[in-house]
């Protein structure tokens, strides 16, 4: 799973989020590093919807503009959880080895 996809799934993970909200969330979660463009976001959302990992939760009109809120499906929750666990395991391995190297030298 690509990092952008992972972050896009993370944004609505605890409820629902609309398109621009996802862009803001992704920027915050990544510490400003990942800045999604509208084009990138919507091609990702289209394929995530096709894979039934997210669905449209509801639509609102704010200031005359359409806002579509997305939420994870059970399948989406599962995929995100599995991917997060995989990343965590890899990160833990790296940090453990780094600490180990430190311990042996001192």
């Amino acid at each position: 799973m690509q990092e952008a996809t992972f972050l896009i799934l993370t944004a609505p993970a605890n409820g629902s989020q609309h398109g621009y909200g996802i862009i803001i969330d992704v920027r915050e979660i990544s510490g400003g590093r990942v800045r999604l463009r509208a084009g990138t976001l919507y091609s990702a959302l289209a394929s995530l919807r096709a894979d039934a990992l997210i669905v449209v939760d509801r639509e609102e009109v704010v200031d005359g503009r359409l806002r579509r809120y997305y939420r994870l499906t059970p399948a989406g929750t599962g995929r995100l959880a599995a991917e997060a666990a995989r990343l965590q395991a890899a990160a833990c391995a790296a940090l453990t080895r780094l600490n180990l190297a430190e311990g042996m030298a001192t």
Binding site: G19, A46, R68, A91, C92
Partner: protein
């Protein structure tokens, strides 16, 4: 016409490049996101529009070659036949067209990020367009059908329009007001120029280096000071580059708890 309405019209035009089905489903929503993401006072979608014009040029160029082939195939002009080099011409055309579009998109992105090299890049992209201009106004051969002529002049008008727009963009990019955007006050290059009081080739080089990210702090570099061995925190006591580095390592280690998902 307000800035908002101008910008919205510009974005709507760009959305026309999406397939109709996709646009009907997502167009309103994407437009809302584009408008929400626009800078205050922004009136145009930016240089990405240049890429769209490039694409249009590519399509018209292809149509020209194809109709040329059809004319040849019909044997309407006996001097020419469908020669083997036509596929090569088409391939070269597509490669050049796609390269042009990618260059425009890359430049547009750099411009949006306020990188100074983007201005230089835009100007450099403008030069081949100027050289191409001479070829564009050459008349098509009299043997070509009227359809070809219409396509040809249509393409030429579009190309000249794009060239004029490009020239205006390059001129605007080098205005003092734009300089404030590309060299924010306090940047190394702005300070340098404040000292020197003029632009020198050296400062342009420095600006390019600065824009390439060497002087802009990369959040990744802050999070972990380097994958390279030389950048790692020192192992043996001594002068660790970052105070508190040891404490932070402990934090990381404590976060390594067994995953609840396994």
């Amino acid at each position: 016409m307000t800035d908002q309405a101008d910008l919205e019209r510009g974005y709507r035009r760009l959305l026309a490049w999406y397939p109709r089905e996709f646009r009907r489903e997502n167009g309103q929503e994407i437009l809302a996101v584009l408008m929400a993401g626009a800078r205050d006072g922004q009136r145009r979608p930016g240089l990405a529009a240049g890429a769209a014009v490039s694409a249009a040029g590519l399509i018209i160029g292809l149509a020209l070659i194809i109709s040329d082939i059809q004319v040849a195939a019909r044997g309407q002009f006996p001097g020419h036949s469908l020669t083997a080099d036509k596929p090569l011409v088409i391939t070269v055309w597509i490669v050049f067209g796609l390269t042009g579009v990618s260059l425009w998109l890359w430049t547009a992105r750099a411009n949006g990020q306020g990188r100074n090299r983007a201005r230089i890049q835009s100007t450099a992209l403008f030069v081949p367009a100027t050289l191409q201009l001479r070829g564009t106004v050459t008349r098509p051969g009299s043997h070509a059908g009227s359809g070809v002529t219409v396509l040809y002049y249509g393409g030429a008008v579009l190309f000249v329009a794009a060239w004029l727009a490009g020239g205006a963009a390059v001129w605007l990019l080098w205005r003092p007001a734009s300089t404030a955007f590309f060299k924010p006050p306090g940047s190394a290059q702005a300070l340098h120029q404040a000292h020197m009081g003029r632009t020198r080739p050296a400062s342009i080089v420095q600006g390019t280096v600065a824009a390439s990210g060497v002087s802009r702090a990369d959040p990744r570099a802050r999070a972990w000071p380097g994958v390279r061995r030389a950048d790692r925190p020192r192992v043996s006591g001594g002068a660790d580059a970052r105070p508190g580095a040891a404490r932070q390592r402990d934090d990381w280690a404590s976060r390594c708890v067994p995953s609840p998902f396994r």
